[in-house]
Symmetry: C2
Subunit: 344 residues, 2 copies
DNA sequence: AGGTGAATTTGGAACGATCCAAAACAAAAA
DNA sequence: TTTTTGTTTTGGATCGTTCCAAATTCACCT
């Protein structure tokens, strides 16, 4: 491993031009003579010179990175989102500064403080559960645009959030259209804002259809497959039991499928369910899961585009961008058992 | 959004000390008087000064970031790995520069070239399939330590790779111990190095046990759930058919489970299978999957530790670090059907 | 040959921090 | 009081680049 790094000066000396000329060549300026350019470029390749973008950014007061702070990278939804962000940023020559917080608010503060010191051009933040908007504002200052993804954060921010309410309403309306009347809302924590919104959409659809909402059919679980599988019995604790469930997300829905099977019920035959997110496994489960698609990779690209736009024009006002959602009908959403044999 | 950024000079002027003193305070030097330190720290908080680490790194010729290049972030195995890397780096104040290549060699070159310009202290690379070691060496130069994860890359590198051979041997020996004699190797591409090594371990275990290896039972598929499900029939094309399969990885094993079910066979009852990786779903499938665990998050931390170690002492020679693997026995690996009813 | 305008190249200052040798100050010793 | 010693503070140079105004070279016309 060689210790000394080559600089512009070394290249300049090596081919008998000035530092400034080499700099112009590197930036593709039309000012330099074609022949000089060729000579310089040859020398750059010959000595294996590596551009120091940090020094350039310091002088030109520009930035070439964007910070991306993710609450849970091990969740495929956010991993896909991150891949989308990086894809779109790389395409325009920006580098992604990654920070993952593992849903810890304390680590989120530390991660943001550390990233901000690298002077990124902007920040894309998918907040940890329970984040304090004021604390975030304090640590990031007001020098760069921030885009908040997926969760509400107290205060005035630029948002990119899913249309949770409409998504859950679509899911519920789909089950109602199939003939279900006893529909549960399964999984998620009541205090999470996305869960709150989804429940609201669910209740709205029920109310619109004049279907009664039974509080006992709103069942809380941790938003994980394992917990969802364990709690499945709670659906059948009361009589009459629901015939269908709108699930907080796909992880919960897949867990519930397992829980149903373990209790001798066949999802997609005896019991209908709908997920949320359309994670890759949703299409592959048995039965394939009806769900609400949000295309996380495309959302990542969208987030990157938005932050780039705000970098170009910092005067753009904060706004609330809703992510359109789409119902994907697969086999997990069957008609209610009572309808079997009844001609359509 | 305020335009002007505060510098050391502003802070210094604001509390009547010199630039150098503020710098010492920021770095926690014991040289400054406690009272001065307090005054400076108060001023820093008061004006909301943000440290410019790029400028500091330029002068002190140090780096505070590590580049992480991932071939496929949407694969939970690599996402977990990335989370582990970031976790360990953040713990010592380093920032992760993320680059994802989507298994494209061309994008990998571009991503590496871009990241290298940000002068990271080191690079952790999980190469795209078909990467050319010489091309990678050309673009990263020889100024910083590089750690190659998971795949062989032509040339002399510092490696952190799974013990694929031993893992597959353990899996195969487990099936042999259960009484299986007709054992397939299912999934993966022959030309991928990890698949090659796993096949080798499988063959080794068979040879050691004096069990014949049947070439027709080595079945290639794309390493995805969907493809693995589609090709399941190939296992039963010849007579006698195998009673068990060592699968290339968990995705393939889970796909094969679905394929078996679709053909009326019950995985874990009529047919035994073993996966590789221990992805989160492995424990939750029906039946739960016997597999080889590699703990990707811990491997991420390990990779970060290794690169930090080489940053501290650049004279450390390249080495090949094998990741220990562990057999996790669950219900997908049953005894062969012919053994049913035979007392143990 | 001399003059003109355009094309090309250049040296020094600057970006925001650190390094370092030297200065300023304080306390103790002569 | 002066010297000595130790503690704090400081100004200028510097890291590798870009900016800018000025210098140089070139091509073309009188």
């Amino acid at each position: 491993m060689s210790a000394t790094k080559l600089t512009l000066n070394d290249v300049a000396r090596g081919c008998g031009v000035s530092r400034a000329t080499v700099s112009l060549v590197l930036r593709g300026s039309p000012l330099v003579h074609a022949e000089t350019r060729a000579r310089v470029e040859a020398e750059i390749r010959r000595v294996g010179y590596i551009y120091n973008r940090a020094a350039a950014n310091l002088r030109s007061r520009s930035a070439s990175s964007v910070a991306l702070v993710i609450n849970d990278l091990s969740n495929p939804f956010f991993a896909e989102f991150a891949a989308g962000v990086d894809e779109a940023l790389a395409a325009v020559g920006f580098v992604t500064l990654l920070g993952s917080t593992g849903e810890s608010v304390a680590r989120q503060q530390a991660v943001l403080a550390s990233l901000v010191e690298h002077a990124p051009a902007g920040i894309i933040l998918s907040p940890a559960e329970g984040s304090d908007g004021a604390a975030v504002a304090r640590v990031v200052g007001d020098h760069m645009p921030v885009l908040v993804f997926n969760r509400e954060l107290g205060g005035d921010w630029d948002y990119l959030v899913m249309d949770n309410l409409v998504g859950a309403r679509l899911a519920t309306e789909h089950l109602i259209a199939l003939g279900h009347r006893r529909i549960a809302f399964y999984g998620g924590h009541r205090d999470s804002s996305s869960c709150h919104q989804r429940r609201k959409g669910y209740l709205e659809a029920l109310a619109n259809a004049g279907v009664e909402a039974e509080p006992r059919w709103r069942i809380e679980t941790a938003p994980t497959r394992l917990e969802a599988a364990r709690q499945a019995g709670a659906l059948f604790a009361s009589d009459p039991a629901p015939t269908a469930a709108v699930c907080y997300n796909d992880a919960v829905a897949l867990g519930l499928q397992l829980g149903l099977i373990a209790r001798g019920r066949r999802p997609g035959v005896d019991f209908a369910l709908v997920g949320f997110d359309d994670i890759p496994e949703a299409a592959l489960s048995v039965p394939p899961l009806t769900t609400i698609a949000t295309a996380p990779r495309a959302r990542g690209r969208q987030a990157a585009e938005r932050i780039l736009e705000r970098m170009r024009d910092p005067s753009i006002a904060n706004a609330q961008h809703s992510i359109a959602v789409q119902l994907i009908v697969r086999e997990s959403s069957c008609p209610p058992p009572t309808m079997h044999g009844i001609p359509a």
